[in-house]
């Protein structure tokens, strides 16, 4: 019984400690894409970046605060010339890594034109251990992975800062909410 508990704990701890790995299919997508954004920053680079983020600039000061708790940032954006250049199956290898108990999908929004999923990694208290956003549009695919601790306040600050104006609630209709 004890051995079983230790084994389960070991499996769980490895799942918690795991970093998100982008599937190799993404390299093929990059070749098809018209434009790509590829940002990969590990903890060393984040520490270095933190030293160059100014406290005088509001956006940079907020970024500095967020970056302080992060261990890694990965962002991939692919913009395609036409629709159908990628399939949702390309994301399956990524979704496989975002499973309970470590990860939970907090948002899944599907409309005619786009599909967005937000996954959060559980952590202690009000802090979040990581976040993954998968945003799929007909001609654009975006994957964001933040690993490390993020506070709920930081998360709230992210939407509505960094040069992005806060948007008031729109009146048009959506399709589905999860």
């Amino acid at each position: 019984m004890r051995i079983a508990i230790v084994m389960v704990a070991a499996v769980l701890s490895s799942a918690w400690a795991q970093e998100i790995k982008l599937p190799p299919a993404f390299d093929k997508l990059a070749a098809k894409a018209q434009e790509t954004v590829d940002v990969t920053l590990d903890s060393n680079m984040l520490q270095l970046a933190g030293k160059f983020l100014s406290d005088k600039d509001a956006d940079q000061a907020k970024a500095k605060q967020i970056v302080a708790g992060l261990k890694g940032i990965t962002v991939r954006t692919f913009e395609f010339a036409k629709e159908g250049e990628y399939s949702m199956a390309d994301m399956d290898a990524l979704r496989e890594q975002l499973k309970a108990p470590a990860w939970s999908r907090i948002v899944g929004v599907t409309s005619k034109t786009e599909n967005t999923e937000i996954y959060l990694k559980q952590s202690e208290g009000s802090r979040i251990g990581g976040m993954v956003i998968i945003n799929a549009e007909p001609k654009e695919l975006t994957i964001v992975s933040l690993s490390g601790t993020i506070s709920v306040d930081d998360l709230s600050a992210l939407g509505g800062q960094f040069g992005i104006p806060k948007v008031d609630a729109p009146k048009s209709k959506g399709k589905e909410e999860e």
Binding site: F52, L53, L155, A169, K173, K175, E177
Partner: protein
């Protein structure tokens, strides 16, 4: 005529040099300062051991200083690039979160209207 011959013979007769003459001449030659030009004089200054060490130290300090400055410039460039990447990544993240929030709100409004 023979008196003149005798006088010449007397004046030009071989005479042995005084004792130590050759040594004294050689010593004077060695002691005499060399006639050196501007560049040679400048280079000669480096023959002094103290100056040679000082030059070597200055060269090492210059090399270390240059490497340090270059490394600092490289570090700064890397830091600024990392900062720009962080800002870009957070802008994209913020944009996607904002968009998702907008979609969720839109759905919420739609449900309330129904």
């Amino acid at each position: 005529m023979s008196r003149l011959d005798d006088a010449l013979r007397d004046a030009l007769r071989r005479e042995a040099p005084p004792e130590g003459f050759a040594e004294r001449v050689m010593a004077r030659i060695q002691a005499a300062p060399e006639a050196v030009g501007g560049w040679a004089k400048w280079l000669n200054a480096f023959r002094r051991p103290q100056l040679r060490w000082a030059t070597a130290l200055a060269a090492v300090a210059l090399a270390v200083g240059t490497a340090e400055v270059r490394s600092e410039m490289q570090r700064r460039a890397e830091g600024e690039r990392a900062r720009d990447q962080v800002m870009l990544a957070l802008r994209i993240t913020g944009g996607k979160l904002q968009m998702t929030r907008e979609m969720v709100r839109r759905i919420g409004y739609a449900r309330r209207e129904q």
